[in-house]
Structure formats: C-alpha cells, structure tokens
Symmetry: D2
Subunit: 401 residues, 4 copies
Amino acid sequence: MDYFYAPGRNHLFVPGPVNIPEPVIRAMNRNNEDYRSPAIPAMTKTLLEDVKKIFKTTTGTPFMIPTTGTGAWESALTNTLSPGDRIVSFLIGQFSLLWIDQQQRLKFNVDVVESEWGRGANLDVLAEKLAADRTHTIKAICIVHNETATGVTNNLATVRKLLDHYGHPALLLVDGVSSICALDFRMDEWGVDVALTGSQKALSLPTGIGIVCASPKALEATKTAKSVRVFFDWNDYLKFYKLGTFWPYTPSIQLLYGLRAALDLIFEEGLDNIIERHSRLGKATRLAVEAWGLKNCTQKEEWFSDTVTAVLVPPYIDSSEIVKRGWKRYNLSLGLGLNKVAGKVFRIGHLGNLNELQLLGCLAGVEMILKDVGYPVKLGSGVAAASAYLQNNIPMIPSRI
Amino acid sequence: MDYFYAPGRNHLFVPGPVNIPEPVIRAMNRNNEDYRSPAIPAMTKTLLEDVKKIFKTTTGTPFMIPTTGTGAWESALTNTLSPGDRIVSFLIGQFSLLWIDQQQRLKFNVDVVESEWGRGANLDVLAEKLAADRTHTIKAICIVHNETATGVTNNLATVRKLLDHYGHPALLLVDGVSSICALDFRMDEWGVDVALTGSQKALSLPTGIGIVCASPKALEATKTAKSVRVFFDWNDYLKFYKLGTFWPYTPSIQLLYGLRAALDLIFEEGLDNIIERHSRLGKATRLAVEAWGLKNCTQKEEWFSDTVTAVLVPPYIDSSEIVKRGWKRYNLSLGLGLNKVAGKVFRIGHLGNLNELQLLGCLAGVEMILKDVGYPVKLGSGVAAASAYLQNNIPMIPSRI
Amino acid sequence: MDYFYAPGRNHLFVPGPVNIPEPVIRAMNRNNEDYRSPAIPAMTKTLLEDVKKIFKTTTGTPFMIPTTGTGAWESALTNTLSPGDRIVSFLIGQFSLLWIDQQQRLKFNVDVVESEWGRGANLDVLAEKLAADRTHTIKAICIVHNETATGVTNNLATVRKLLDHYGHPALLLVDGVSSICALDFRMDEWGVDVALTGSQKALSLPTGIGIVCASPKALEATKTAKSVRVFFDWNDYLKFYKLGTFWPYTPSIQLLYGLRAALDLIFEEGLDNIIERHSRLGKATRLAVEAWGLKNCTQKEEWFSDTVTAVLVPPYIDSSEIVKRGWKRYNLSLGLGLNKVAGKVFRIGHLGNLNELQLLGCLAGVEMILKDVGYPVKLGSGVAAASAYLQNNIPMIPSRI
Amino acid sequence: MDYFYAPGRNHLFVPGPVNIPEPVIRAMNRNNEDYRSPAIPAMTKTLLEDVKKIFKTTTGTPFMIPTTGTGAWESALTNTLSPGDRIVSFLIGQFSLLWIDQQQRLKFNVDVVESEWGRGANLDVLAEKLAADRTHTIKAICIVHNETATGVTNNLATVRKLLDHYGHPALLLVDGVSSICALDFRMDEWGVDVALTGSQKALSLPTGIGIVCASPKALEATKTAKSVRVFFDWNDYLKFYKLGTFWPYTPSIQLLYGLRAALDLIFEEGLDNIIERHSRLGKATRLAVEAWGLKNCTQKEEWFSDTVTAVLVPPYIDSSEIVKRGWKRYNLSLGLGLNKVAGKVFRIGHLGNLNELQLLGCLAGVEMILKDVGYPVKLGSGVAAASAYLQNNIPMIPSRI
C-alpha cells in the first residue's frame, strides 16, 4: 500500500513539504466540483482577502497560481521585468543559486553578490551598488528572505532602508518561501514589491499553490515588462478578478478548500503566536546543536533562521549518512546538505504546523543517529538543553486554559 | 461547512474537473512526506512508465509538471519552438482559441485556420498549406484533439497522413486534454510529437498535474528551441531523471499517490474498455438529445465527441439559464456555452470515472430543466432513448461476473 | 484495492446502510483521541441536546450506544421490562419478526399480533387487547414504525390514541430505525416511551451508534425492570452524565464527530424539509412502480413508506435475480426480498442523504434490469412518471436561490 | 472546527484509543455499501481467517462484534456460563474491577481474588481454590491479561499450568484488551477458552469492534449456557457463518475495511516484530521512570507491562494535575490514575502503531510537566536513559534496508 512502510508516524523534519494538520487534510478530502459555479468564486474571494494578512499587506494584490515555488519565482520576475534588465541578486546558498540561475536563463542581467554559504546577503555590496547607480540602471533587487539550504535569514528591513537612503526606485522582489507565515515578514512596512511563498511550506498544505503578492508599484511595472509570459501572467488573473470568476484556468478545488482551512487555523492560533512558536522551535533546536558540541552552518546569530537549522558535522562524518540513517532506522526525515555543503551539513526543518514535543522527539532521534555514525554525543544532552528553554517559554494553549 | 450546501450528491457533468473515484480520494488522503526519500522516486519511476500507456507510446518521454492544461500547452510550445517560428493552428472553439492566443503571445507566427464553431479542423486548408510549403517554413502543426467547447473531435490520423503525404517534417503538437484516456488516442501510431493532458480530466484526479509526452523528435527539437523557459523546461526534468531523483522542484506528494491509484484503476478496467465506455456514454447522450428534438452543436457525425456533448437550444432560450437552474434546483453541474456559443449551447460532460446510471440521472435532470425553462420536452424521452441503447450495450462488470 | 471494482459511483439504494454525505465522511477522517479529555465531553453534550430534536422530544433522555439497531432494541427492552412481562408486539415483516424473536429470547411473554406481509399493524386487535386488559397485565406495546422489509409505515398516532382511550399505562416502545429523521415522528406528542434508531439509516452515518431515547416514564421503569443488563444498562450512562464525562466505556471518536457533522447538515436543511424530501422521493418511486405496471408490496396507501418501496414482481421472475443483476451490470445496489417475500419483492431504499437525480438514475437502472430479466417494461416510463411529479414539486435549493 | 485546537500533532499516550496509522485512516475513508453484496462477505472471510493469527489460534472461532471491550466481556461470559455459576476472578485494578462488577450483575457467583493494586493476580490463591474444588464447582477462571490501570501483566502460562496440574475443567476466559497484538499471547498454547480485545487498542483502529475468540470447548459450553443473550449471542453469528453471509446484523463497513488494512500492516511488520517493538517501548519507558527517580506502580518486574506504564508520583503531587497540564500546555494526552490510584499515578500508554521517536517526544514532555508541577526532575534524564537503551536495540526498518 505504502512504499517502504514503517510503524508509527513519519517524523517529517525536512524544511518542506511540512506536516499538514488533520483539519486541513480533512478539508481536502473531497470530490472535484465545477469551479465556475458560484461556490468556488465565493470561497476564492475570501481567500484573496485573507491571504494578504499573512503577507502583512493591505495594498498588495495576491495571485494564487497552480504551481510551485519555482513557478512563483518565474511569475515574480517575468511580470515585472524585461529581458536585459539589470538586477542585483544575492547568492548565499542553494535556493538563491537556483533563483539566480532562473534569472539568468530568463535573460536578465544579474549582478550576483555572493557570500560564503552560511553567511547572509552582503548588504555592504548592495549599498555600494546603489550608491554607484545614479542613473538607476538597477531595476530590481532579488533576495531570498530565508535561505533554506543554510538556515540563514536575511535582514529585509535593512535592504529597504538602503533603497530609501539612496532614493533608489528598484523593485524589491523577495522569496519568502521558507519565511512567510513563520518568520516576521512585513510586506507593506518593508516596501516589498513582490513577495512569494509556496503552499507546502509554512502554510502546511500540499505542494501546488505558488502564492505571489504584488505591490501597486509592481502591478504598474507589468505594463512595461516585456518578458514573455502567459501561464504566469498576472494580467490574466486581474481580468478574471474583475469578472468575479477569479480563475483564468482551472484551479485545484481541493487545495482551495485546504487553504481555506489552513488560513482558519492560522487565524485561530494568531499570526504573531505562530511567529513566536517558530522562534521557540528555532531557539530550542540551536540550543540542542550547541549541547551536542556541533556548529550551526549559519555563522552569526543575526542570521539564525527560526524555520530551519543547518548543522555542520565533523569532517570525519558524511552528513548524508545521517539523513539516510534517520530514514532507515528511525522513520525520521531530515534535510540533506545541498551542493557546496553536501556531506557537510544536515538540516532540521522546524516550520509549519509543528509543536514542541514533535521537535523534541526529532532531537532525541538526531542524538541516536549521531551516536550511530560515530559522533561522541551525550545522549539526552540536546533534548535537555532544548527542554530547559522550552519548559520556561511554552505558553498554555489558549483554547485550553 | 460547505458553500451552498445541498442534500445528496452533486451531479458533476461539466467536462472537467470530473468525478474522482473513491479509491483515488483515499489514496490522496495523506500527510506530506520528504520527496527526496527513496519512496517518492521509487513511485515516480512506476508512474513515468505507466503514464506512457495511456498515451499509447513506448518511445515518448513523459513529464508530469505541477501545473494545469494551460501550463502544459506552454511547456509543449516553448520546449520545441523558437519565437518567430511559423506554426499552423486550428481555431474551432474556445479552447483552441485560447491556445492560439497563447501561441501568439509566446511570439510564434501563427497561421490560424478557422472553422465555424461546431465543425472540425479544416484539414483541406492544412493540405494546401503543406503542399505549398516546399521549404518547410512550417515548424509545427498545433491541433486540439477534442474541442471541449463544442464537443468536436478532430481526426488526428488524417493529419498524420497529410504530413506523411507531403513528407513534411513539421512537429505535430496535440492538445489531448479532453481526449487522452477517454477517446482513441495513439501517440506512436499517429506520429504525435507532443501530446498533453491534465490530471482533472479523463484521469479523474484533482487539477494539478499537466502531463506532457514528447517524441524523440520533439526532444531533439529542444536543443534548438530558443523560447525562453525555466519552470516548464524539460531539460531540468531530464537532468533529474538521469539522477534518479526525478524532480527538479517539489511535486505534490498527494497527487502522485493519487495518480498511482488512478492508473491502477485504469489498468484494472482496461484502457480499451474505458474508451468503449466513453463511446457508450457519448452515444447515449446524443440519442437523448435527438429524442428531445434538440440539435448537437457538432455539425457532423464524424466529429461527434464521446467526452462532451454541446447541445444547441432554441433561440428563445438562454442556455446559461439551464446551467443556473441545474445548480440551483437539481444539484446538477452542467457546462456553460463559451464565447461565440454563449447562451446558445449548454454542455454535458461525460468523461472520466463515470457510469451509465450516473449519466441517466443527469439526463433525467436535464429533461426537467428543459421543461422548467419552457422547452416542450417530453419527460422521460431522452432517458428512454439512451436506456434503449444502453440496455443492449452495457457489458457485465468483469470483476463481478 | 477494492473488492469487485466497477467504474463510477456505486448507486446505493438498499434501505440502509445509506449514502454518507461528503462533509460527514470528512468529519470522520481523523485519528483517535483521548475520550477523557475535555473535548469529547464538550462535544458529547451538544450531541445529546441536538439528537433529541430529531426525535421531537424535549423531555426524553437519549443514549448513544456503540452498537447496532439490534442492540438498541435489546437496550429498549431490558431497561424497561422484566422477564415474564407481557408485551404486545406486531409481526408485519422481517424486522418486526426479528424483534419479536429477540423479545422471546429475552424471556418476555409476547402476544404476537400478526398481519399479512404488506399490511400494517392490526390495531383493531390492539384495541381488543387493551379493552380486555382491565388489570393492566400488558406492560408494553412494541411496534416497528416503518417495516423495512415490506415498506409499511404504521400509524403511531392511532396507537397512542388507543392507549389513551383505554387509559392503559403500558409503555410504548417504538423501533424507528428506518423512520426517525426521515418520516414524521413525534416522540413527545405521541407519548412514545422508548424510541430508537441506528446511525446508518436516515442519519446517513456508518453503522455503530444505536440511538435510544427514553421518556421520563421509561426511565422510571428502569427502577423495577429486572432484566439482566450491563453493556446496555442506561443507568451506567446516567451515572456518567451526572459526572459530566458522559461515557461509561469507550465511544467511537470518529462516529461522534460524524454525528456532529450529520446533525449540522440536518439542521441546515431543516428536519421538516428532510421529511418533505423523503415524501417526494417516496411518491416519485411509487409513481414509477405504477408506470411499470408493477404492484407495491404495501397493500394500502395509508401504509406507504417514504423511505423504502418493496416492489412485487410477476411470479415468473425471481426478484433476487433483479438484485444480482443490478450489482453485476449496473453498479446498482437494491434490497433483496426477505423471508416470506424472498424472490417475490425487491426493494428500493430512498432514505438518508439522497436527492432526486440520484433516485432517477436508480429508476432508470431498474427499468433496464426489468428488461434484462424479461419483464416487458417500457424503458423511460417510470422515470417519466417520477419526473413529471418531481418537476412540479422540487423546491429550489434554499442556499442557492 | 475542532474542539480546543492546538498547533501540531496531538501526542496520544493514553492506553487506548491509540494512534491510527494513516493507511488505516485512508482505508476507512469511504461511503457505506450494501453489506449483503458479495464484496463484504468476501472480505469478511479473509478477516475471520486472519484475525485468528493475532490470537495465535488455529482452532478458535472469532466473532467481530459491533461493540466495545465491555460488550466483548459480556459476550464472553453470557455465551459460556449460566446465572449462578461459580467463577474465580482476579481484582488487581480498575478494569478487572469493572469486569467483576459486570460478572456480578450478570448474576454469576464470583470468587473475587484481590491483590494490592500494582501487583499481579494472586495465583497462589487460585492454586488453593483449584486444589480444594474436587467437584469442579468452579466453572470459569476470569483473568485480565494486562491490567491497564496499573500496568500489570499477568502470567497466563502459569494459570494454564495450574489448571492442568489439578486437572480442572474450568473455562479460562481472558481479557486481552490491552495485550493481544502487542504482548506475547498464545491462545492455543495456553489453552485459553475465550480471549477478547477491542479494535481501538493494539489493532490501532477506532473503537467499534469487540473481537472475541472462542475455543472449541467454549463453543461447546454455549449449548448449556443459560445466560440470556441475543445481541451478543455467538449462535446467531455461527448461523450466518454457515450461510456465508457472515453478519446477523449490520456491521460497520468502514471498520471492516479498516481492520483489513490494519491486519495487512500487522502482517507486513510481523506479529513477533510488533511484540518486540512493544517490549522496546515498555523497557525504554521504565528506564525513563527510573531515571526520573519515580516508582512504577507495578511492584515487581515479572508483572511489568509493555503496553502501559503507571507511574507513581510523590505524595505532594496530584497526578491528575500532570495529565491536565499535558493537555493544556503540551498537547500531550496521558492516562489518569483511576479509582484507588486516582491522584497517585499517571499512565503512559505505549501500545499500538507507535514508534520510538514518538515515545521519546512524550517522555520529553513528561519531564517538562514534572518540572511544571514541582517535581525536581533533571530535564533530559529520562530521554537519555531511554535513548541509551533504544539506540542499542532498535532494528533497521526491514523495508528500508
């Protein structure tokens, strides 16, 4: 029935796709229906309103595209830019690398600002470039808010400050795939022009919706953007928004109902509480890593990610063995090290609909794996460090007080 | 809980998204999992093998892209063609119109061959064009196998014959969205270079996978195709096929399991039996339409579609009233008339995982609606005509004999 | 995956278990939980309040026992009566027969009042017995409201009138298995002392909850009832009701959530609208039977059941062949003739969460089967007769107007 | 949507109902069907064969009764015994107490052999009674294999040895509710005459099937057993077994499919591997308890249960506060102390479809709770002790090697 069955729950700690809450699984457990009936537009309308809240925008226009994060990237770029446009993009890990690859293949002229993997975007270089760019040849700044490969969170507020400081009109395009709805993200306040995420990340849904949110300035940019686009064209959506039927082509009925349920749960918990919960989970994970005597791939505290922790292993250990062993012995799914950090790091995803005891079970599993592969960990040490913090900080469950 | 609840089952007779069988709904009822574990590649491998069977190809290469039919179109075009390329495309209804619109926006040079809506592709014009094109400036023929808006099935075998007759090397790109896995479709035999469908049609899944199958010649064409593409680029898939991990970006775990279950059901029923079943449902529907004294939008028998019937209503009736009434009074979902035939036709979709008694319930509903809107139908007449045919032709259910 | 797979929906027209609405299937799609947490009691409290509404009682006490209708029968009897107690019970078909068998095996002294199968309870005999019973030796009247085997609905109001007329204190115990929540049933108004139903009938849930409702007089009777009982003992429930934990032993978490969803749907549609819908479906079915030239097993209109129709077939046809053929050729599930009417009747169940087009599909199927087995039916005739009535009587769906 | 929502998974560690594996939840996600069609009997036949394997019997006859464990008890007693029959029954905790209460209310003459709660059945007293009972007035020995309230497992092999030693013909009736399919249980080898369990325990299903298995001797006893029974009467089942339709009344379609899936998973894992897994989980839990400096309610190692651990708390702590806090702060469901040990113990259930990392998450949670309520636990100590054992003993997952 299943491929490679194992008893008990799979402990899913890759940084996406993440655990789907039961109420959302339930909401999606349904037959197809006619998306041109009054029901789907009525629901879509509520989704478009509510999805803006997780971007913290009131002025943005959201698009819920039947695609993945990669498609959402493409949509962000092709709707606002023209081939040959100069953009500044930060290479700090595998996902920013892939986005830059896409930018280049889409024929943009990319100034790649590279950092060592484990470090955040080099904003000093950005400042220099902005300062030098008196004629505003830079059309967009592309930045990954949270680099999933290295567990690095970039400081978007500073990016905005720099743009404002230099009075630079470049668009600010943000990949929020592993941040939005989990980390502090403020589209309007930070003047983000295009922000995007994928349904299978902090929203805790299956893969299948790339959610892109465009500022008025970004929408304005579509009028002159010459990049060829059809499937990803926002204008087709806007046309159907006006008609009140909302969909230029067939959406997934199931994902829409799932998104409705997911948003309901998010608002029930409270977006700020969710961000706080991710902060707790991130902190607890880092305390465990420290207790194990291992290093975080992320080099400075200012970049620590609360949705994923990349753990460096000693040179005599192949980190991919850790991931394999998790799956083969403990039914625990951890993230591989990718590209430059392959074999060197394994990753613990701690985003989405997840609670503290789930994380502690994972940490206990990682300890046993570390011992399996020959690292002299003190069993229980990471759990103890994480628990000590959590026991002081977990709030009572509001609905149950 | 639901939007606009009504007791009993919704009778879903739009030509997609169609009814999902219970075993497929069950198969998708699951949490996310790590798509980089050995499980998903192991399953994906079986899917790629098995999905070729519904295209009737052994030489084609399939791509299961997380997108819709519109995305599958774009993938077919951009992977094989370059901007400016001359293509011949047939406009016979709303969906061929939309594809042509996409072709033009993607900067191809489109020879539009238009037919009256209700008629098939004008293959005489194709013959002329091929005959005249001694220098092979035509790079591709784009044709919708089954035009969902008018219920017209084109004759692909003839298209192939013409290409062969003139020794013309143009690629043959086929939209099989409402045909593949329901109508007779033979990718290899008919020399189709790119064929495509969407998961929510005859495969009876939710929306979310655009399945594209490319011939060796089409794969060869990717090497020179200059259309800009990233998300839809087959080469990214091919790279991961070689790695054995299969996915350049995150697929929907749920849809993959759903596709596995759907293919299992398809092979259990037998592809030829499925085509035969659609033939029965199509014929029964047309007999009912005839008994009601109404006309089929499709003008000739050679074009009759076995997956959707577009029914012309008398001028004094607005066909959209029929669709509205179905939803508001009978919990019956019918297809609207689109664009040129808006108000003039309503559509009965009879594709996917559907049986005869479901169709007869629908036909009984249509009769009552027709009476509701003032058409002097004899109640029971269509059901009688359809039943008379079906009672002679339905086979015993093989598993139950 | 499934046993004996067939394409499309199974058309389920046995008089129970009946079709479960999708929202209820969804509500039950969940893991177990601790039934001693605050959640289950909180939900149970709402269920106990709301379930009374479908019995039309404000004074009754409901018990939701993890059992079937047979267990609910046993609970009704053993909680209110003592071995040797004289009861009057009406034998009018297979289910009343089975209840009487139970009554006898539980050591009650049963006055069996038999009617020809197809006729209602002989209330003249009841009147005689009550008149003669000056010393009130009769402790209870047991009556099946709707005999599922023959499609006969008994007149409970008259039973109450007779008891009142003779000032007789006998308890009135009613099997409402195939009536409550589908037919007009008024526990308080008709002075019913114990009424019961099963979750898989008009409530449209899976089998597994026997719902029993006891009047204050019935509760009083428990104090002197000497029948041995433990699992079915109401007092154990009452003890836990007082404690506020509600459950003397483990309930099915899934069925409780399902019942919550089912009740929500019932109240959304409105109990009176549900009864009206069953009346339409019953009437339409009988019109079809008449159009086919067949006889209803129910001999008089006053006993016609709106939840199940037992159809008499001509002597040269074996009705079980009709049922078999439905399953083997049309994926249609009809009810067999039972016991005395085996081979002579087949049954169309039309209860639960069902709409008119579903029924018309079934009727079209029955017509084809009748032809299959050699009965000279005019195809379409039954559907025409039913449609003519329905088209005049189906209301607009309130939520969609 | 849910009552008292909390983010992430509920950690379900009550000793039943237990976690349902996803494939089983999926299998139950379905509409009703006709239980008189060929499908349900065909499946039932496989269930009756396969369910015997988890009792380790080839000669027993199983009954899958739509009821709970309490109903299964009643079925075991009433089918084999007559009112007034002398039985020996061991009182060692809340569930044996409840069974004895039932035995007395069913009018048996019960020799209650009481032990201090936390100790096993006093088999010395049994030996005395058997020795003294030359005339075989004792008709049955009733024993709970695993007392869920105190975490005590009785030695059934010794009970059988005593019966054999004294050549005593008393029936041996065993409550295996929290043991069968989790602990070593051997119906045939130990000469158990009636064994029973409930679907919501080690089988990891919802509540709703009481599975009772009867030896040939137990079946023989039904012929003379005078206890009144109808719903629970095995003879009604046997009658329908002979007919090949299997069900005297309506079963739950969903639970049957669920049981089919559960058995498939059990056989895939292997019953002996399952018992081994429970042994690991039990041992790990006890090591944690020891590391916390707390006492096991179970007084001797020979009685330690591998499915549930009852933990004694110091007198200054109310154990029910621990359970409350688990639910209110950590989304962790622990078992309350019941009756005599109320306030004194809390219970960790570790049975059913559960793996080691789930347990470690629970143990980490218990540690934080202990600290919350003022017990001076060293955080991480229990997890460390459990992990040290587990890391040495968890096998590779066979399907993934």
